[in-house]
Amino acid sequence: MQRFVIRRLGALAVTLLFSSFVIYGAMYLAPGTPESFLVQGRTVSPEVLASIRAQYGLDDPFLLRYWHWLTGVLTGNLGESLTTRQDVASLLASRIPTTAWLTAYAALLIVVFGVVAGVVAGLRGGLLDTAVLLGSSVGFAIPTFFAALLLMSVFSVTLGWFPVFGAGSGFSDRILHLTLPAVALALPAAAVVARITRTAVVEERDTEHVSVALARGVPWRTVARRHIVRNAMLPVTTIVGVNIAALVAGATVVEHAFTLDGVGALLINAVQQKDFAVVQAVALVLVAVFGVVNLVIDVLYAVIDPRVQLGGESA
């Protein structure tokens, strides 16, 4: 198991290295020069321009600049915002709590509502099953941002139960502020998870080992728990993982809708202002988190399924 995790970490490091190159290269190729952006349309003398270019190392060859940036990143120096001159690392650090709370909350909702609804629908069938199927079809078709507005309109504006904007501080206040955003963020994913969980449970219910267990006189509750739900969790783990990993990017939309000061909002601002130092850093961090979540899911999968060859020697 240890070797498996170490190998996967190594692969992740390589992926991140290539990703950093792609991200940095993309920004390098973008039309428009950074210094024209730095001077913000003011007329400046060629000498000033030259000093700016020297200060930011803009005359260095691409690979050297990439190397400087990369070594900076590895030592925790993510550079400096082109617009505000703030340290990107501390800027990012101030934004992380909101996004972390939001995505964790949404992930919890996906697991609780998506998986539970799917399991109940798959085991019970009947009306409940139809309701879950219908609900998941609708939930899937509602875009996150539209769900955000609907929730805001009903629960904040009309009923006044939840605050409209802001992320709140302290635990209970945070929960109160982040409930609607988290529900909006979790909705489409929970819909997909519920549907796939249901299918997995129904398929598992029809397997021979389940009917064998029942024919041996094992009680239905034990069979449902130990044989049906447990085995159905294999595909469900994957699908839950994919959807939770995707929250990393999806949070952007919800943060924008609820004007939350999260990492995604920072990214969108930076993109609109062409603040590439921030875009690069945020993109790299998001890719890293995405990779780590996916790795955790893979490890989890290997723990649940004894058939996974951890050594990776055989297919």
Binding site: V22, P143, V157, V192, A257, F290
Partner: protein
């Protein structure tokens, strides 16, 4: 004494083996829900095409004194914060939204197909290289990849469309590659190759027609995703720019009005997106694909 009749002859003589299953046609495959979805989709496309004829007003011009009018005989669905006719904007918005999603699907489809065919045909190192590039792209969440591309090329409908198409290519390419690879190994393709036909000819004449169903199914499924993601980019201010009418942008522009108690614009535009996405994903699902795992 009768001698043993050979089994196949006996089998041919009777029995239900040759009976056709009921409902083999396209409408049979779609089912009632699928047929409804096709009708809804057709209606939306028709509305988009005929927008100039159907729209009672210019979608971009309004009068500030006519803002926030409720639905009435003058303005069937009311007006927005700038006094523009909402029905007209929805009709024109259908053009932008559907065209954008279609463009994403077509570009991603063509790009994915080409990558899949090249990887399949050359195999070996080319295949491995394509695989590595796809793996690298899979390291990025879909939406993040699109945002990065927009960051590089700037905001706007065209940029957002291309950005999203690029984010979709890896998924399309991966699915099609596995299908094309299976086809490539079949004897008739090998035979065509041995006859000395060029790679382009074999790929075009044999591989392409055989992976076409998968290309179409994938496109139908992706259409719904593309609509949502494109609308999300417009909502973030990275896609379609004002004053162009677009459903995603209309939801976003309606946000302030909604908080002030005029929810029509956001509600109507959002409902249009939901209906369109639902219709296209039902079609995609019925055409033989299963709903893809999730959108990253």
């Amino acid at each position: 004494m009768k001698t043993a009749v050979s089994a196949p002859a006996a089998r041919r003589s009777g029995g239900p083996a040759g009976r056709r299953r009921p409902g083999g046609g396209l409408s049979g495959r779609l089912g009632p829900l699928g047929v409804t979805a096709v009708a809804v989709a057709a209606l939306l496309v028709l509305a988009a095409l005929l927008a100039p004829v159907l729209a009672p007003y210019d979608p971009d011009i309004g009068s500030i004194v006519q803002r926030y009018l409720p639905p009435g005989p003058e303005h069937l669905l009311g007006t927005d914060q700038s006094g523009r006719d909402l029905l007209s904007r929805l009709l024109y918005g259908a053009r932008t939204s559907l065209l954008g999603a279609a463009a994403v699907v077509v570009i991603a489809g063509v790009g994915g197909t080409l990558l899949a065919l090249v990887a399949t045909w050359f195999g070996g190192r080319v295949d491995a290289f394509v695989g590595r590039v796809l793996d690298l792209l899979f390291a990025f969440p879909n939406l993040l990849l699109a945002i990065i591309v927009v960051a590089v090329f700037g905001t706007g409908m065209a940029q957002a469309t291309v950005a999203l198409a690029m984010a979709y290519v890896p998924y399309t390419a991966r699915v099609l590659r596995s299908v094309a690879l299976r086809e490539r190994r079949l004897p008739y393709v090998q035979a065509a190759e041995l006859q000395g036909l060029s790679g382009v000819t074999v790929s075009g004449r044999h591989l392409l027609p055989n992976i076409a169903p998968q290309i179409l199914t994938g496109a139908a499924i992706n259409f719904g995703y593309a609509m949502i993601d494109l609308a999300a980019l417009s909502f973030l201010g990275l896609g379609v720019q004002a004053p162009t009418a677009d459903w995603g942008l209309m939801v976003s522009q309606g946000q302030d009005s909604l908080l002030q108690g005029y929810p029509q614009q956001s509600l109507l535009a959002g409902t249009c997106i939901v209906v369109a996405v639902a219709a296209f994903s039902v079609i995609g699902e019925r055409l033989g694909g299963r709903a893809a795992g999730g959108r990253a």
